[in-house]
């Protein structure tokens, strides 16, 4: 049951998975395109000076990743509440927590790994050196699950609000601040230790999110 649900949820984000016919549309591609676009625009805005770019580029990658994580939020939970999808799963004995855990995994798979891959072209555009790229990649690997967890909690909490999509973007930014501070902070000090904090924050959020989001969609019903 979990397997089928995960496959279907992935189909929401990746049109080619789960046999969907144009299912999620540009769902998964959009955050990645957005992410690379920010990395591309930044040198135009601040000038092509290699030293400046290399010093500030890592932080830009982080901001771009954070903003890219906001994009899929509007369709993360609301849609399936309106479809009655969660009701039907509930009747088949699946708990809201399990539904939300599956949804979080699908959400992360749809933007985490693609973003990590897209960090390579972004690093080239921003002229990041090897050690910095190394820290960005590990940081994104540690931080994106946390971003997915925050996104899921917010999407579930704002599901009943009419302007939920706009609000969820605003709510994610302050909540994602600790991840950003430690993730980008590691770049400034060129030190992997603070990425441990990022991973710890992510771990806590990932453990918490299915319960918080599950309670939220139960309340909406």
């Amino acid at each position: 049951m979990i397997g089928w649900t995960l496959r279907r949820d992935l189909g929401l984000f990746f049109p080619f998975a789960g046999g969907a016919n144009g299912g999620g549309g540009a769902g998964a591609a959009l955050p990645v395109i957005f992410f690379v676009a920010v990395a591309m625009l930044y040198p135009f805005a601040v000038g092509p000076d290699a030293a400046t770019l290399a010093r500030t580029g890592g932080g830009v990658v982080w901001i771009a990743a954070l903003l890219a994580a906001i994009l899929p939020l509007d369709r993360l939970v609301t849609r399936d509440i309106e479809l009655g999808h969660f009701d039907q799963l509930r009747l088949r004995g699946m708990s809201e927590e399990a539904m939300m855990a599956v949804r979080m995994l699908a959400h992360w798979l749809s933007f985490g790994p693609p973003l990590i891959l897209a960090a390579f072209p972004a690093a080239a555009l921003l002229q990041l050196d090897g050690p910095t790229l190394h820290l960005v990649l590990i940081g994104l690997l540690a931080g994106t699950p946390g971003l997915a967890a925050i996104g899921l909690i917010i999407a579930a909490l704002t599901a009943s609000l009419r302007s939920g999509a706009a609000l969820s973007g605003l709510l994610l930014i302050p909540l994602a601040l600790p991840i950003l501070i430690f993730g980008a902070g590691a770049l400034a000090r060129q030190d992997e230790a603070s990425l441990g904090f990022v991973a710890a924050i992510s771990l806590g959020l990932v453990a918490l999110a299915p319960f918080a989001a599950g309670a939220a969609i139960r309340a909406v019903r």
Partner: protein, 203 residues
Amino acid sequence: MQGSESPRIFAHDLACRRGDRVLFRRLSLDLGPGTACHVTGANGSGKTTLIRTLAGLTPPLTGTARCEGAVGLFDERIGLDPERTLGTALDFWFALDGASDPSAVLERLCLSTLVDVPVRYLSTGQRKRAGLARLLGQNAPVWLLDEPLSGLDTASQALVSKLIAEHLDNQGTALIASHQALDVPGLETLAIEDFAVREEALP
């Protein structure tokens, strides 16, 4: 039929609310294998709330409500992804429910020619039939049907009555909320307005 226990829809001294308004109270019913109940009532009288409470999706205000056996819920939200084709959207539920013969279900509801059409392009009646296909594939002994006839043409309405009758013959049980008359032998009726609460604030 799934589950070894005999199916049952049971409510005792049930009161439900929507928002801060009490819809009905002191409602009791007990449906066993082979019996079904047709719930009638005006818009907003609480038919949908009753069904969702019996399904365990919303908690009752007071009293008990439960279903024994796997529950098949059919309401206006058919649970099929609008962007997907009817075939792939239904296949998800068929796979989840372990439906024994999906193609026979599609044939029965005259949906075989529509499997390549995205769900969002289906007409109201076709969407209803698609929801019924999901329900049949589930093969649940307990049916909770919310307005199964609205938006259906005469032939499809007759088909729904026939499906319910067959479901009862197979020792299933059903509770149906509908404004239209159902042509099912031995159908009990329950007028939800008999239990209505007028102008009463919450305790």
